[in-house]
């Protein structure tokens, strides 16, 4: 596997122009993902996880102002003319969005929607792209793909639709697959199948995956790296085992504690009090302080904490440190 990251983001900031003034959706985010690796971006809605990916690939809304540096396969994307960026995106990045019902065009056949990217970026003829669409639909596990290629999205079930979307995303054999909460709109048994399908495809194709989710269960099973986002910033980042074993940010700890635990029987779910802040109205200092159970330092309400190392590759943005089991104090 090459050492050069597939997607490398540095200092990405996204400001959205809204009716109520500018809203800072993403505030200086760094992350990167390598070939064959899975990065999970975790956070609540409005935390900036989707927006950071959309902005990096040129899909942010028109009102957005995007700064920072984004490299896709070593090519700087920011400042690239839209036409070049469009071609890079279509050829090298595949997207799977949250709701397959709305992300598929209702008036085009699934075959057409899968084949059009191959026609555009691989220069395939219509006939070759159609054959490729059958292969792809077969690859993502759609039974009798050749027969179903001329069906319309509404003739498929939710899970099958999401398989179609995945086939669409893989049409040009992208180096990076971005899965933006791809299981949220599906029922539980289908969710597991889609997670398994993406993991399997990643093993076979060596694709890098950015998995955007609020479901830590998915993260634990599939990701190599995890970045927890809150209020537009990464608050904790590192190898998934390290972060799960030693959650070092009060928000990460709270998220892990809030997972339903079947072993706990009928015990009440632990929740995080309050609601996530709106990007229009972020608290000064650490964005989490109004909900933070610890609030360890007077600086929390005024200063943005720096990102500090916990262990190799594991960083956290907080003034507070847990007592490490090794006895090391931060």
């Amino acid at each position: 596997m090459s050492d050069c990251p597939v997607l490398d983001i540095k200092g990405l900031t996204v400001t959205l122009g809204t009716r109520r003034g500018p809203a800072r959706a993403v505030a200086g985010v760094d992350w990167s993902v390598r070939a064959g690796q899975t990065l999970a971006l975790v956070g609540e809605s409005g935390s900036g996880k989707s927006m950071s990916v959309l902005a990096a690939t040129g899909l942010a809304p028109r009102s957005a102002r995007v700064t920072g540096r984004v490299h896709l396969l070593g090519t700087e994307l920011t400042g690239l003319p839209e036409d070049r960026r469009r071609r890079m995106r279509g050829r090298h990045v595949g997207f799977v969005f949250q709701d397959p019902t709305t992300s598929l065009n209702p008036v085009l056949t699934v075959g057409r929607q899968v084949s059009e990217a191959a026609e555009e970026h691989l220069g395939m003829t219509r006939r070759a792209a159609r054959a490729r669409a059958v292969e792809l639909l077969d690859l993502v596990g759609i039974p009798s793909a050749a027969r179903r290629i001329d069906s319309y999205p509404h003739q498929f079930s939710g899970g099958m639709r999401q398989r179609v979307v995945i086939a669409m995303a893989l049409a040009c054999e992208p180096d990076l697959l971005i899965a933006d909460e791809p299981t949220t709109a599906l029922d539980v048994t289908t969710q597991a199948q889609i997670v398994e399908l993406v993991a399997d495809l990643q093993r076979r194709l060596g694709t890098a995956v950015v998995w955007i989710t609020h479901d830590l269960g998915v993260v634990a099973g599939t990701a190599d790296e995890v970045a927890v986002m809150y209020g537009g910033r990464i608050v904790e980042q590192g190898p998934v085992d390290a972060v799960f074993a030693h959650p070092s940010h009060p928000y990460t700890s709270a998220l892990l504690a809030a997972r339903p635990d079947p072993a706990a029987g009928g015990a009440d779910l632990i929740t995080i009090r309050g609601a996530p802040p709106s990007p229009l109205d972020l608290p000064a200092g650490c964005a989490f302080w109004p909900r933070c159970p610890v609030r360890a330092d007077a600086r929390c309400e005024h200063e943005v904490p720096p990102l500090v190392p916990v262990s190799a590759g594991h960083h956290v943005r907080t003034f507070y440190r847990h007592q490490r089991p090794t006895g090391e104090d931060g």
């Binding site: 690939t57 899909l59 469009r86 071609r87 890079m88 995106r89 279509g90 050829r91 990045v93 997207f95 969005f97 709701d99 709305t102 992300s103 598929l104 065009n105 209702p106 008036v107 085009l108 059009e116 990217a117 555009e120 970026h121 319309y152 509404h154 979307v165 669409m168 049409a171």
Partner: protein, 314 residues
């Protein structure tokens, strides 16, 4: 599909039956005696009674209606009180003039509204978008007869480019037909274009915010492909209905405009028939308009099923 069309045609027949009944009864309520109007100053009681009997107006209403209906089924809509000619041929004679005016007006409206609506949606908030909104506000608020009069004054009077009024059948001289149709068609078409521009703009804006448009952009398709293949195919489905409703209402004859431009269409015929209390002609004209309206709606439903795979006609 075939069965759908047949069933809809049968339903249309029932609606037309209702139309004949309503029109027939309404005409009974209209003040003024058609035979008196037809006789004018030549009135004398004997001729009056004779004419009434010949037109069948001395029979009971039910009998009059049923015999009208029976004849209508064979294509005989009675004879004009005024000219004594068969209504069916009078009405059908006027159809080409109305059809050619309506078709030209709608074609003009679509040619204006389509690019204007799509572009102002794609660049919403831009100068072009504001200009388009002013245009459509103007078009729906200024009365068409006033625009027609201004058009005649300017293009026929001051500039002398176009004839002020009149009609030449397209089969007789296409060039002269065209020069005569421009003013009335543009006058009527401007109103239709204004309505359509607004509708197309909002429809395209709505589709632009759909998830599948973002999906298409995520695939890295060219902007032109995203618009043509993904946005317009969806945005234009509801537009088809509006175009058809507009066309249908123009087929009903634009009475004021046809009178203003001396355009011998169904609208002008209706107007003259009302003036003359020529009930058989009026009934015939209304029946024709209703039939055209129903036919247009049927065509829209069939077209809908072709455009939107989620709709199936059975």
């Amino acid at each position: 599909m075939g069965r759908f069309v047949i069933r809809r045609l049968l339903q249309s027949g029932v609606v037309l039956l209702g139309v004949t009944l309503v029109v027939f009864l309404l005409l009974q309520l209209v003040p003024g005696d058609p035979v008196r109007v037809a006789l004018g100053t030549r009135f004398d009681p004997q001729t009056y009674e004779a004419l009434r009997a010949r037109a069948g107006l001395d029979r009971p209403l039910v009998v009059q209606y049923l015999s009208y209906l029976g004849n209508a089924l064979t294509g005989d809509l009675g004879v004009s009180f005024r000219s004594g000619r068969p209504v069916t041929s009078i009405v059908l004679e006027r159809l080409p003039a109305t059809l050619s005016l309506a078709a030209t007006a709608v074609a003009f409206a679509v040619l204006v509204a389509f690019p204007l609506g799509v572009l102002s949606a794609m660049r919403s908030g831009s100068l072009l978008d504001h200009a388009a909104r002013v245009f459509s506000q103007f078009g729906v608020s200024v009365p068409d007869f006033w625009m027609g009069i201004m058009g005649i004054l300017l293009f026929a009077g001051v500039l002398g480019w176009l004839p002020p009024s009149g009609y030449v059948p397209i089969t007789e001289d296409p060039a002269r037909w065209a020069s005569h149709v421009v003013l009335p068609a543009v006058t009527v078409g401007l109103v239709t274009a204004s309505i359509l521009t607004r509708f197309i703009r909002s429809s395209v804006l709505e589709v632009l915010s759909e998830d599948y448009v973002r999906t298409a952009e995520a695939k890295g398709l060219r902007a032109r492909v995203v618009i043509m293949r993904h946005v317009l195919r969806n945005a234009l489905i509801p537009v088809v209905t509006v175009v058809a409703v507009q066309l249908a209402s123009l087929l009903g004859g634009v009475i004021v405009i046809e009178v203003l431009f001396a355009w011998p269409g169904v609208g002008r015929l209706t107007y003259d028939a009302v003036q003359a209390r020529d009930y058989p002609v009026l009934q015939g004209a209304v029946l024709l308009v209703a039939a055209l309206f129903l036919l247009t709606n049927l065509l829209v439903d069939v077209l809908y099923a072709r455009l939107d795979p989620r709709i199936s006609v059975r």
